[in-house]
């Protein structure tokens, strides 16, 4: 298998799933594509299984909160995929409404997504449907709120320990 350019990768995805890619930004520092949230599960399966793509390594899942978007408040979930065979990578974004951010879990496809999704749930509050154990991973079990939301206010005290001292 050979290394593909970003354009070729998108072409392969479009060939199999013509509806999935809704937006492609190729002129930035890092090019990325936006995938429809409903079709993210199929796209992920394709990305791993198609031998031309061969994205077998999920590097990172990040969640970013955009409360002041023109299109309405949004949360973006960003997947950085990488191939250990073909040595190419791609950035895929899924845009979700901020009021009810739900997206399909990909932990069956890449096992590493298990902890990454739990972390994104913990810090940003994205709900991954189909995850077998979506509980907090970094913060304490009874922590309230999702700290990396832009409107998050830390608690004044937690279990009787003062949290804000200045």
């Amino acid at each position: 298998m050979a290394r593909l350019e970003i354009g070729q990768i998108i072409a392969v995805i479009k060939e199999k799933l013509p509806e999935a890619v809704v937006e492609e930004i190729l002129d930035g520092v890092d090019p990325f594509v936006v995938v429809k949230a409903e079709q993210w599960g199929e796209t992920a399966q394709l990305c791993r299984d198609d031998s031309r793509l061969g994205f077998d390594l999920l590097s990172c899942i990040s969640g970013v909160d955009y409360p002041e978007r023109e299109e309405g408040p949004e949360i973006e979930v960003i997947y950085h995929l990488d191939s250990t065979v073909n040595h190419h990578g791609i950035t895929i974004k899924v845009k979700l409404p901020r009021s009810d951010p739900r997206v399909a879990s990909v932990e069956e496809i890449w096992r590493t997504a298990d902890w990454h999704e739990r972390e994104t749930y913990d810090l940003v509050g994205v709900i991954f449907e189909g995850h077998h154990n979506l509980v907090r991973i970094l913060c304490a079990e009874d922590w309230v709120g999702h700290p990396l939301r832009k409107d998050y206010e830390p608690p004044d005290s937690f279990h009787g320990i003062k949290n804000v001292i200045y």
């Binding site: 970094l138 913060c139 304490a140 922590w143 700290p147 998050y152 830390p154 608690p155 937690f158 279990h159 009787g160 320990i161 003062k162 949290n163 804000v164 001292i165 200045y166």
Partner: protein, 179 residues
Amino acid sequence: MNEIENRNPDPLTKNVIFMSAIDDVINATRANSVWPLTFGLACCAIEMMATGAAKYDLDRFGSGPFRGTPRQSDLMIVAGTVTHKMAPRVKRLYDQMPEPKYVIAMGGCVIRGGPYVKHGYHVVKGVDLLIPVDVYIPGCPPRPEALLEGLFKVQKLMKREKILDRTRRTTKPEVYQPV
């Protein structure tokens, strides 16, 4: 008395009896065999390990056998950031240590939250909100020499201990109690 004389082979001290307060004897033995609890939390733990290892060699100063259990140790070196998730455990480990016990707060994070004091929502801003602290060592992380200096300070404190005074270190009521 006879027995002592017979066993002492040194002609210089053969007939000498040392008089001392029992406090001083006990404190001297205690201060020269400090057993710290292995309680590495973060970056400072690496410097704590370096203090125990080849170059700085904590053993020279009558300390060093890092114990894995609080029940065998009399000094707790809190090295690293204490978080809210860790706080009940810190408190419990401290409670499990036998009296008299001493605490060194090593590094900026343990003293007042360090670099995480403003935005670190999950960081306990100072371990003295949880347990009483005897010696503070600033630095991020403190050098091994600083930790040694802190240990000397603890040894000085140990030498001031009175065996009849059992009330020195009851936990203050306003200090955090785990739920």
